[in-house]
């Protein structure tokens, strides 16, 4: 196969499908025609894509947690609790890590062990093992729009089962669910496999069923400069649109400097719109998601609330369509449902308090918007060029060349040459731009910012500075300054 950003033919899709469905016995229960009918019965208030469109129109910022446990009834209780006690607008189903590695056998064991132990031994909901019937029970028992959230390089069976089960939103992408989540799976394979997922959503769309798709914005969650995650998000948006996806949410993980964060959401919206239209995708509805700080959290719950609240504030001021919420247990372990609901309620309070305070595009925000756009354009245009006008093969080559590069990624397929660090105001910049295809102006801008910080701290920029920044928020600061 030659990887191309080209809509799969039905023949190609159904050929692959036949095999996928057999990966685990529950695959046999997937029946597309019947699933379409099932989707038609899902009311608007439980419909993810529709809820997002409404929020965008009203200028709302919706809240959404992460959550998933091994057993079905427990998972239902968990989600209903987050809906009622957490006042969550949108609901997730976080898939466990074995499923993400297609280790369904391990899941089966862990489900059994969890039943015996009376507590979840999995870090998420093993949807493939629960099958279409299990998923439908979930969809019918929960009063809110539902999204699959995972981190699965090869998610094809999971997609089939969860969509047939009635999920109306699906996270992931061939880059964003590979580079931060895998070590030795080639990009060629994951982009190809994710074309399958997108194509399936596209086929649902052809049958009048709108399903929301969301590339995973924050990548490694740790000091990822906006231009990197924006480039990946926009590429995945384009790849999805090509396969027929019509409702797309692009994401960004909070960096922590208010002006950079507000600017990042604005830049993402504007650039994504521009690139989709430029490349011929005129009928997609775009929304945005802001992730509260995705890196290391403080262990102390009071301090965690502060980080959560600041993320909520930035999301609301940036007017993102939704915000993914952290919990006061973040640094320590999967949250209890109570802790999860508390993160949601704190977020809701701030979003509502800031709903009436639009943040103007001040000069400071404007500079950041222009900077992020310029950087992202450099990357996107080079990717396109490397692929000879194709974003799919271009992405593979771009990662090889370090034109796309994700800091701290576990994947062998990311060059890992760039090094991010904060500037004096806490904005995330690049201390080493690696092979990013930036103009000299942009390179100088980053260098000047990092030099100014180094000077302020009376030390040279180094990997130690990067480490200090990685720990900073968990130690109660934004910029990892050396202690005096």
């Amino acid at each position: 196969m030659e990887l191309k950003n080209k809509k799969w033919t039905h023949d190609h899709f159904y050929g692959v499908r036949e095999e996928i469905i057999k990966h685990w016995p529950t695959g046999a229960d997937v029946n597309f025609e019947e699933a379409v009918k099932y989707h038609e019965t899902i009311p608007a208030r439980k419909h993810f894509a529709k809820r997002l469109v409404k929020a965008k129109k009203n200028g709302e910022t919706l809240t959404q947690p992460r959550a998933g446990v091994a057993l079905l009834d427990e998972h239902i209780n968990l989600l209903n609790f987050l809906r009622t006690e957490g006042e969550a607008d949108l609901l997730p189903t976080t898939i466990d890590s074995y499923t993400r590695q297609n280790q369904y056998e391990n899941c089966a064991n862990a489900i059994e062990e969890s039943m015996k132990a009376g507590r979840s031994l999995l870090n998420g909901f093993p949807a493939v093992n629960h099958g279409v019937h299990g998923v439908r029970k979930l969809v019918e028992s929960v009063d809110g729009p539902l999204q699959v959230r995972h981190g699965t390089p090869d998610a094809r069976l999971l997609t089939e089962i969860t969509l047939a089960g009635g999920f109306t939103s699906y996270e992931g992408g061939g880059i964003s669910y590979n580079i931060p989540y895998a070590k030795s799976v080639s990009l060629e394979k994951t982009i190809y496999d994710w074309q399958y997922n997108d194509r399936l959503v596209g086929i649902y769309a052809e049958h009048g069923i709108e399903i929301n798709r969301e590339p995973f914005g924050p990548l490694t969650g740790t000091l990822v400069p906006p231009c990197i995650s924006h480039a990946v998000a926009i590429i995945e948006g384009i790849l999805a649109a090509e396969q027929g996806v019509k409702n797309i949410t692009l994401g960004y993980g909070q960096c922590g400097n208010l002006f950079q964060d507000v600017a990042a959401i604005k830049a993402l919206e504007q650039l994504a719109e521009e690139y989709l239209v430029k490349h011929g995708y005129n009928d997609c509805v775009l929304t945005t998601v802001f992730h509260q700080w995705m890196g290391g959290f403080p262990q102390d719950e009071a301090k965690a609330f502060a980080v959560i609240s600041w993320g909520a504030a930035a999301a609301a001021l940036a007017k993102a369509t939704k915000v993914i919420v952290k919990t006061p247990h973040e640094a320590l372990g999967i949250p209890t449902k109570e802790a999860n609901a508390m993160g949601l309620r704190a977020t809701k309070q701030l979003i509502n308090m800031l709903a009436d305070q639009p943040f103007p595009i001040t000069a400071e925000v404007d500079i950041e918007v222009e900077m992020i756009k310029a950087e992202t354009r450099c990357i996107l245009d080079k990717v396109f060029e490397l692929g000879n006008g194709d974003f799919a093969s271009g992405s593979v080559r771009a990662f090889e060349a370090g034109v796309l590069d994700v800091p701290f990624a576990p994947s062998q397929y990311s060059l890992n040459k760039i090094l991010p660090a904060r500037d004096n105001n806490g904005a995330v910049r690049l201390f080493d731009v690696g092979n990013l295809p930036f103009t000299q102006d942009i390179i100088d801008f980053h260098k000047a910012k990092i030099d100014a910080r180094a000077k302020e701290e009376g030390r040279k920029a180094s990997f130690q500075m990067v480490i200090d920044d990685i720990y900073a928020i968990s130690k109660g600061r934004l910029v990892g300054r050396p202690s005096k």
Binding site: S97, Q101, L121, T220, P335, F408
Partner: protein
């Protein structure tokens, strides 16, 4: 020169992809004079054991962040014994179990599994380096 350095095997066990702490530990142990055999993330038990045998490492540092540590780490000590690594130092750290848990419980659970040292979430590498030097009589 290189040969004088004590070797340690480092990796993140199971289906776990958390890479940031791994990179920092790699840097810290290298800076402290060890030769780090870094297996990265998503490392099965046998890979830890094989690497330790191949490189004649003096310790295996196992990380588990994502919550499945309890399942993934079980049996590693036995596997070491079976492979002739016997009582090679086994350290484990990260967010070892699912959920926020009293650390004392987690500690004794992993000690029982045969780990020599068990670290709380948020431990800084400096402390681990000191402990390792102590345990190895360096």
């Amino acid at each position: 020169m290189e040969n004088n350095k004590v070797k340690v095997v480092l990796g993140v066990i199971g289906a776990d992809c958390h890479a940031v702490g791994n990179k920092i530990l790699n840097y810290a142990f290298t800076s402290a004079g060890f030769e780090v055999v870094n297996l990265g993330v998503l490392v099965p038990q046998e890979e830890f054991v094989n690497a330790a045998i191949e490189t004649d490492a003096k310790a295996i540092l196992v990380a588990s962040l994502y919550g499945h540590g309890e399942i993934d780490c079980r049996g590693l000590r036995e596997r070491c014994r079976e492979s002739g690594l016997g009582d090679i130092l086994l350290y484990v750290g990260g967010n070892l179990v699912v959920g926020k848990t009293d650390f004392a419980e987690v500690h004794s659970k992993f000690i029982e599994m045969g780990y020599d040292r068990v670290y709380e979430p948020g431990i800084l590498p400096d402390q681990v380096v000191i402990d390792l030097k102590n345990d190895l009589g360096l």
